[in-house]
């Protein structure tokens, strides 16, 4: 008891942002585990659903797009091309959608008990990462069946692509979840933005088509989007060795020398902006919710 005088008087409710999330990582772990548990409550197959759904999706792509639509003629092994982009976009979409709603969704807790509120958007991103994993497994099986060969640079590209989008999700998640407390329009804006995100990145088509139409300058603008770079990194990691010859299509020149660093810097800037906005707005969460 004598030691209490040694502890300083501090102002409650003033946190240190993402640093606090790191200090409370055990709570973060429990929050993430809770969401994962709740997702498949009451279902017989449980977590198997996470594998079945993407597997069916992959088979559909392979048959409908690759064989029926004949997209395999332009892009070798189109199913893997498409799927490797889609799993990453799925992760980004789910992470950002849930993160943007997380503060309003957890308002009951935020209004009652003080805890680092950054935990909620960050937890949403972690939960999405957990859901991303089964899709990655399905993708890898698809890759192996079509002659994929892992290379060190490819593995690095996979990790880098994921890292870029995870940072971007946390940054945008912090930004939109805090704005959402004041203006519920934020949720809808995020949904619209995510719909666009699939099309402004080379998920369905190839980067070369953009380059041909837009020219060098606008193509550089196109490349400055971290989502685009993430998708290209995934193509490089998973598709390039299975495509049978046109591997150069996987990635524009200077992907690793120039565009990856650009994407990392942009994502880091978004993260900083998200954290800044969140901290400015969070002081009034309890009364605005």
């Amino acid at each position: 008891m004598t030691s209490l005088l040694d502890t300083p008087l501090v102002r409650p409710g003033i946190g240190q942002g993402l640093k606090d999330v790191f200090h409370r990582r055990y709570l973060l772990k429990l929050l993430v585990r809770k969401e994962i548990k709740l997702r498949y409550r009451g279902s017989v197959l449980g977590v198997i659903w996470s594998y079945v759904k993407p597997a069916i999706q992959f088979v559909v792509f392979y048959i409908a797009m690759g064989v029926f639509l004949g997209l395999n003629r332009n892009v070798g092994n189109y199913a893997v091309y498409l799927f490797s982009g889609i799993v990453l976009i799925n992760f980004f979409t789910e992470a950002l959608n849930n993160a943007a709603k997380s503060i309003v969704y957890n308002s009951g807790l935020i209004k009652k008990i003080f805890l680092p509120r950054e935990l909620f958007p960050v937890a949403s991103v972690f939960v999405s990462a957990a859901h991303f994993f089964p899709q990655l497994v399905v993708l890898l099986i698809g890759c192996l069946l079509t002659g994929w060969q892992p290379t060190p640079l490819g593995v690095l590209a996979g990790f880098a692509g994921f890292l870029v989008l995870a940072m971007l999700s946390v940054g945008l998640g912090l930004f939109f979840s805090s704005v959402n407390v004041y203006f519920r329009d934020s949720e809808n804006f995020v949904e619209m933005m995510l719909m666009v995100a699939t099309w402004v990145s080379p998920v369905m088509y190839q980067w070369t088509m953009v380059h041909e139409r837009l020219g060098d300058f606008w193509f550089a603008v196109y490349q400055a989007n971290p989502v685009t770079v993430g998708v290209e990194l995934f193509h490089y990691a998973f598709w390039s060795t299975t495509s049978g010859g046109d591997a150069a299509l996987a990635a524009p020149p200077q992907l690793f020398e120039l565009w990856l660093p650009v994407a990392l810097v942009v994502s880091a800037a978004v993260l900083a902006l998200g954290q800044f906005t969140f901290r400015r707005l969070e002081v009034k969460f309890a009364q605005e919710l």
Partner: protein, 249 residues
């Protein structure tokens, strides 16, 4: 409590204004802005006005007052959920407690999962929770139901588990908002004994309650709030008497 005990909660001239916002969309806000910010986009009211007080270690304090007097708002300022517009709040050590029964409980999780989650929310570490888990379950008298989903619990079981987690979180400052009124007689008595024990061990207790008899039993000091101002601050029985005489008028 001796005047020499260290201050655990220091409140200096805090004021809080609430904005009763009428609009929730960007569109309306924009129109309001373009019209030259005329008219009332929002009405305001003072929830707290120039409140100052010190609470020392080991004190048992009751915040009293009628509905809307600012008691719960003051409690939220101490917990850090809200921050004041003016003035400062400072606290020493860990502040936690039971602001609402089962805030942070999820009905679809088992009692066990909820204990872990809620204890972590209240700031306990993994080892602390593991050490105290049996004691939490025992105090709550949940027994074999600990692995049942919480939505099947009776309201009494729910309350007991939530209270048990909170008292085991062992903070320096323990906050309780209007919960002791619930629960049956034996459990209430058990809670009061536990609270007494914690206060003897040097924990500071701040309670919000409308149950005046209970408040007199648990708390030594009473603080009466009215319209966001401190009206009276003194021994709890005097403050309770004062409040009763006012409500009769």
């Amino acid at each position: 409590m001796s005047e020499l005990s260290p201050i655990t909660v220091e409140i200096k001239g805090i004021s809080k204004q609430f904005v009763l916002r009428h609009t929730r969309s960007i569109k309306e806000a924009l129109i309001w802005f373009l019209k030259g910010r005329k008219g009332d986009l929002s009405a305001k009211f003072h929830a707290l006005q120039d409140v100052s007080l010190d609470i020392r270690q080991g004190e048992t304090v009751a915040l009293l007052g009628f509905n809307g007097s600012g008691k719960s708002t003051l409690l939220k300022h101490i917990s850090g959920v809200m921050t004041p517009d003016e003035g400062t709040v400072r606290t020493r050590g860990r502040v936690a407690g039971l602001i609402e029964v089962g805030a942070g409980f999820h009905p679809d999780l088992s009692g066990r999962d909820n204990v872990y989650l809620n204890a972590a929310i209240l700031g306990m570490s993994e080892t602390q929770i593991k050490e105290r888990f049996d004691s939490i379950v025992e105090f709550a008298e949940i027994g074999e139901f600990i692995d049942t989903e919480v939505r099947f619990y009776s309201s009494g079981m729910y309350l007991r588990l939530a209270f048990s987690v909170a008292v085991h979180s062992d903070p320096e400052v323990f906050l309780v908002d209007e919960i002791l009124a619930v629960g049956d007689e034996p459990f209430q008595r058990k809670c009061l004994e536990k609270i007494q024990e914690l206060s003897d061990a040097g924990q500071t207790l701040v309670v919000v309650s409308h149950d005046l008899d209970l408040v007199q039993r648990v708390c030594s000091r009473g603080i009466l709030l009215e319209h966001g101002r401190v009206l009276k601050d003194g021994p709890s029985h005097e403050v309770v008497e004062f409040l009763r005489s006012r409500s009769k008028r």
